[in-house]
Symmetry: C2
């Protein structure tokens, strides 16, 4: 494990790119591609080959000169770096449209995240559509998260309710929160947040349109 | 406009960070903060001040030495760089849970993206819940997009249907696609795609948990 000793000094942007690399590798694997050159791989993910090699060098030596990367092997190594080689349980709070969409999102499962408990005080007692899970009140979060050893949570409630949910998650021992509410959360030390900004993709596209108009 | 002349050579990562900067600036503006130092601003967005200054330098001279950035002014400049100073219409295809969640997502509106037309062949003729819009068949995409001058689209259909929708969008004159389906789309030249990977946030959090376990 010594090659991972410096994980906590790895820049956030590098970790984000590891996800991108993993997604591309899993796609290549589905297409039955066994090896990929850093040039082709870089093109697939939109990252310069030199950057790609530098990112991966944080974690050890990958790739074989003149041959490229072994797709399945590198995918497994990245999963091991990300800690996703085994299933991880996730608590979802908020069962509105977004919560239901996230619950049925296939992409979590294929990356070994399992939504194991679902909370929404207004809908407590109902079943999650298409699932054997019952929706629990948010007050049950602590007990459930501890019993089920859940350390990751997703916030899919409206902005006004998000801070209170985040606080409950912190008390429940959840240490990583994926936040879809368009609000900055303040959290105790030791709890990380990833904010998902659904608008930023549209902004990048808008930038692209604008550049083209200007040229045309 | 000459200061923007090099927009098309701006790295993709820089454009992504502009969204991040804009979101932080809009939050500061809500908190009635008038100016922000590059040190504090960098901390808010998790980017080194030197990187921040370098990113903004692509587009001209911002900030006042010893004073920092004027929050509202910089926000307006970034909106103008991103092309989001005026409302842009967006076509949404797919009215399942995810589509409905995106339709009611407040974050698009606050960044001046308006979902102006909604398509789902299975639900055509129904109304979008809580809205006066009728759901149209995907076959209407071309006519509607041209009439309403829609150049951005969101794909919120299952993976198996996404490629066909993307092709229709291309024919309809849509030039930027935000794709939530976990599949790589192949598209004609001149159509850009931003793929949204909802798992990658959980992977970053998982990485954080793993680093901590290793240290502990």
């Amino acid at each position: 494990m010594s090659e991972h000793a410096s994980n906590n000094h790895v820049p956030r942007a590098v970790v984000g790119r590891l996800s991108l690399y993993l997604r591309a590798l899993l796609n290549l694997s589905v297409d039955r591609v066994a090896t990929v050159s850093s040039a082709r791989f870089g093109k697939l993910v939109g990252v310069k080959p030199a950057q790609l090699r530098k990112d991966l060098a944080h974690f050890g030596q990958f790739g074989v000169r003149g041959k490229g990367y072994e797709v399945d092997k590198l995918a497994r190594r990245i999963e091991s770096i990300l800690g996703t080689e085994h299933e991880q349980k996730v608590a979802l709070v908020g069962v509105g449209n977004l919560g239901r969409a996230l619950f049925s999102y296939k992409g979590f499962e294929s990356r070994r995240f399992k939504i194991a408990a679902v909370f929404d005080s207004k809908l407590a007692g109902q079943r999650v559509p298409g699932s054997p899970l019952s929706i629990r009140p948010v007050g049950d979060l602590r007990r459930t998260a501890q019993r089920e050893r859940i350390r990751l949570g997703i916030i899919a409630v409206p902005a006004a309710a998000a801070q209170a949910v985040a606080r409950e998650m912190g008390k429940a021992g959840i240490r990583g929160i994926l936040n879809f509410a368009p609000v900055r959360l303040s959290l105790p030390d030791g709890v990380r947040v990833e904010n998902i900004d659904l608008s930023s993709g549209l902004e990048s596209l808008s930038f692209g349109l604008r550049s083209r108009r200007r040229r045309g």
